[in-house]
């Protein structure tokens, strides 16, 4: 460096946002007002996009904390559908719990839970057709469970064993299930958003009825791909839903780092001319209702909707993360919108179709069912010692047909094994 070093000063006008609470603080969310009445009203799904401008700033809610479901967003689901929702959420939670613990025992390299966000994935899936293509992140396993994907196959993927449909090519949780309308998950954040818009444009081009539903965490909305997606979706009126799951955290950074401290994530859509809804993501009925609305709009040619699902990431980011390093330990308990499973439970009890005993029994039976499926998955191997997939599969699916140089490398590899 040519110049002499400059003395250090600590004065600066540069603004850097900070979360309200850090480890050691007692979280107090009294400033987040929980709307008592369930505004705003439900407009016609084919309304002008600006008629949803206020929906981007408020919060669509159906379930009250006392278990009542009210307002014109109430989807009035059948008892069977409600009980099915409970089952799917509990199964998702039980699976996450089991896989997390098994990762801790060294059975797989990594895992990511969706605890606290089950209403977003399950409620969303319930409101779509199974053929609608989801472009997920790594926290929508509830969609697969709702769509009846094989939990054993999911587990085998995480265990990278001989039952892994991806032959060990991807890290755990980055599933691909075309047969269940579930696009291959990328580890590179945000990339799926604009691809989902393209998928939807193809649906429109082919005059098909299908739509695409794309997901991102609030943190990854900072990627350019999110903005590409909003722009293209608007320009071509792509039949899609763009979901921002605002679980407050992106690994260690709070949502204010992604967006600044001004508007909501839903409001990002207004400037692009998209319909915008902001929904209580711990209220499965509200998630369902908002998704139904957006799906109808998309299918009928009204174009894309941006939905912000306002929720909370109860667990660490992944098994590699320790959230007590950057947020208060008990923050989840203070979250003013509660827990999605509890919220639905109170509703079901209020309806008289559920009881604490039944709830506990279901929790237990989910645990047992997941344990049994896990055992049968682990019988096909795990990653704790050596891989149970055939190593040569690493040369497959790079191209449709391997070019000669890759065949040569395959031969070099077998020489190496003989060594």
């Amino acid at each position: 460096m040519a110049k002499a070093p400059k003395p250090v000063t600590n004065r600066s006008r540069l603004h850097v946002p900070e979360p309200q609470f850090r480890p050691g603080d007692t979280p107090d969310y009294s400033h987040i007002s929980v709307p008592a009445d369930h505004t705003p009203a439900r407009p016609d799904p084919l309304c002008e996009h600006h008629e949803t401008a206020e929906h981007a700033l408020k919060l669509i809610r159906v379930l009250r904390f006392n278990g009542e479901a009210i307002g014109d967003w109430n989807p009035k689901l059948s008892n069977d559908a409600l009980l099915g929702a409970m089952n799917d959420m509990m199964m998702t939670r039980a699976m996450d719990e089991r896989m997390f613990n098994m990762q801790r025992q060294g059975k797989m390299s990594f895992y990511m839970k969706s605890t606290g966000e089950e209403a977003v994935s399950v409620g969303h899936a319930m409101a779509l057709k199974n053929s609608d293509m989801i472009f997920p992140t790594y926290r929508q396993q509830g969609i697969l469970i709702n769509r009846g994907a094989s939990i054993k196959e999911m587990m085998c993927q995480c265990l990278s064993n001989s039952g892994d449909p991806l032959d060990g090519k991807s890290i755990p949780v980055l599933y691909s299930f075309k047969k269940h309308g579930f696009f291959s998950i990328s580890g590179n954040l945000g990339t799926q958003l604009i691809q989902g818009v393209g998928w939807a444009m193809a649906c429109a081009y082919k005059n098909e009825d299908g739509i695409a539903s794309v997901f991102t965490g609030e943190g990854a909305t900072a990627e350019g791909d999110f903005h590409y997606a909003l722009n293209f979706a608007s320009t071509y009126r792509a039949p899609c839903i763009i979901n921002v799951v605002n679980n407050q955290w992106a690994i260690s950074s709070f949502q204010g780092i992604a967006a600044g401290e001004g508007e909501t994530f839903a409001a990002r859509g207004s400037g692009y001319g998209l319909a915008t809804l902001r929904v209580d993501g711990n209220d499965i009925l509200a998630v369902y209702a908002a998704t139904k609305w957006a799906a109808e709009r998309a299918r009928k040619g009204g174009g894309a909707t941006l939905i912000e699902h306002f929720t909370y990431r109860q667990s660490g980011h992944s098994t590699s993360d320790d959230p007590s390093k950057y947020r208060p330990k008990d923050e989840a308990r203070h979250w003013p919108f509660g827990d999605p499973v509890e919220r639905l439970k109170v509703h079901l009890i209020k309806l008289g179709i559920w009881s604490e005993e039944q709830h506990d029994a279901l929790a237990k039976s989910c645990k047992v069912e997941i344990r049994d499926i896990y055992k049968s998955a682990e019988a096909m191997g795990d990653l704790s010692e050596k891989t149970n997939v055939n190593d040569y599969t690493m040369f497959e699916q790079v191209y449709e047909r391997p070019p000669e140089h890759l065949e040569a490398q395959r031969r070099m590899f077998s020489e190496e094994l003989d060594e």
């Binding site: 460096m1 040519a2 070093p5 400059k6 003395p7 250090v8 000063t9 600590n10 600066s12 540069l14 850097v16 900070e18 390299s109 990594f110 990278s160 892994d164 032959d167 060990g168 090519k169 991807s170 890290i171 980055l174 990328s186 580890g187 590179n188 954040l189 945000g190 943190g219 990854a220 900072a222 990627e223 350019g224 791909d225 992106a250 690994i251 260690s252 950074s253 780092i257 992604a258 967006a259 590699s320 390093k325 950057y326 990653l383 891989t387 149970n388 997939v389 190593d391 599969t393 690493m394 040369f395 790079v398 140089h405 890759l406 490398q409 070099m412 590899f413 020489e415 190496e416 060594e419």
Partner: protein, 343 residues
């Protein structure tokens, strides 16, 4: 350096120390990236820096690699010395345009009117079961860019000195950190107990400011049978393999890929007449191809055998097949035997 106190450090601590030293000496040095502020980085390289130097000097950014490098360019052009972290090299591609078209060419395009003294730190390489998106070694995509420098240390001592040098350089520097070496040397055997930097001479890091000139290779071992040219994690694989085979190997840790220490390379290859290049990155158009071409240009009449390359396969980095993909000691052995068979 007889009087300078040294401390045993991991590569993580050495990198942190380099940042701390430069931040303490120069208020123009800023450190930022995803999760680097309060949390201190997913690999802890920036732990404690925010607390010590202030919120405005070590902070979190939105998840936007293009944005991170973009602001770094603007800051650098405006007189600061930003050190931007990209959480994994696998996520650097959204920033590729800002790096390749902008940072690297700002000086040239403005004919020296604007400059870009920017450092981009990013972890590279495999060995941690990170799969396709936490394992890549994309150095060749960057050494192909005129106007950019690319360096990669293989131990704590070099990491600190090279990072300080990078931060003080007036051109943009890409500083690659082999993540498998963060906590200890790694000879390619995943089943051996993990080694730590504690007690290793290269884990002894001097206090305060020192720098290692860019473009200078480090001689790992002196030998006369064969030259091994390598960098990053593969330095340790090369050393272990040569020792096992009982070869007298002249091993160069290149450290700086661009600028490249062609003098050291030429000298060594002319002496041994045999050369193996080792890197983790995929083979085709990898940096080994560039080295091999330069050797052909400078040492052709001294070569006793064709130059061999030990590399990752030309596939994406698989998850479960990590150790079948990784160019470990077996692959290195086959290549070394091949060049030695000419004897």
């Amino acid at each position: 350096m007889t009087d300078v106190k040294t401390t045993s450090m991991t590569m993580i601590e050495a990198i942190r120390d380099a940042l701390d030293v430069t931040m303490s000496q120069n208020s123009d040095v800023l450190v930022f990236g995803e999760d680097v502020g309060y949390f201190g980085g997913v690999f802890r390289c920036t732990a404690g820096l925010q607390e010590k130097h202030g919120l405005h000097r070590c902070f979190d950014t939105p998840i936007s690699e293009g944005g991170i490098v973009g602001i770094a360019i603007g800051m650098a052009a405006n007189g600061l010395r930003p050190v931007a972290e990209i959480q994994f090299a696998d996520y650097i591609y959204p920033a590729y345009d800002q790096i390749a078209s902008e940072a690297a060419r700002l000086r040239y395009r403005s004919n020296g009117d604007f400059t870009c003294p920017l450092t981009i730190r990013t972890p590279v390489g495999g060995g941690i079961y990170g799969g396709q998106t936490h394992s890549q070694s994309p150095e060749a995509l960057f050494t192909h860019i005129a106007g950019l420098k690319t360096v990669i240390p293989s131990n704590p001592y070099d990491a600190k000195g090279m990072l300080i040098e990078a931060i003080e350089d007036n051109d943009p520097v890409l500083f690659l950190e082999p993540k498998r070496l963060y906590n200890g040397p790694f000879d390619g055997d995943p089943h051996a107990p993990a080694k730590s930097w504690k007690g290793h001479p290269l884990g002894e890091v001097p206090a305060g400011h020192y720098s290692i000139p860019m473009g200078k290779a480090r001689k790992v071992s002196e030998g006369h049978d064969v030259t091994i040219l390598t960098y990053g994690t593969m330095v340790w694989v090369a050393e272990a393999t040569a020792a096992k085979l009982g070869l007298s190997a002249d091993i160069l840790d290149l450290r700086s890929l661009l600028p490249l220490d062609i003098d050291a390379i030429t000298q060594s290859v002319k002496k041994t007449g045999r050369c193996v290049i080792m890197h983790e990155a995929t083979r085709t158009s990898g940096f080994g191809a560039e080295i091999s071409a330069q050797i052909q240009e400078t040492c052709f009449y001294h070569l006793e055998a064709p130059v061999e390359r030990v590399t990752g396969w030309d596939t994406p980095y698989p998850h479960a097949q990590e150790w079948a993909y990784f160019p470990g000691q077996k692959r290195a052995t086959l290549a070394l035997r091949k060049v030695m068979d000419g004897v």
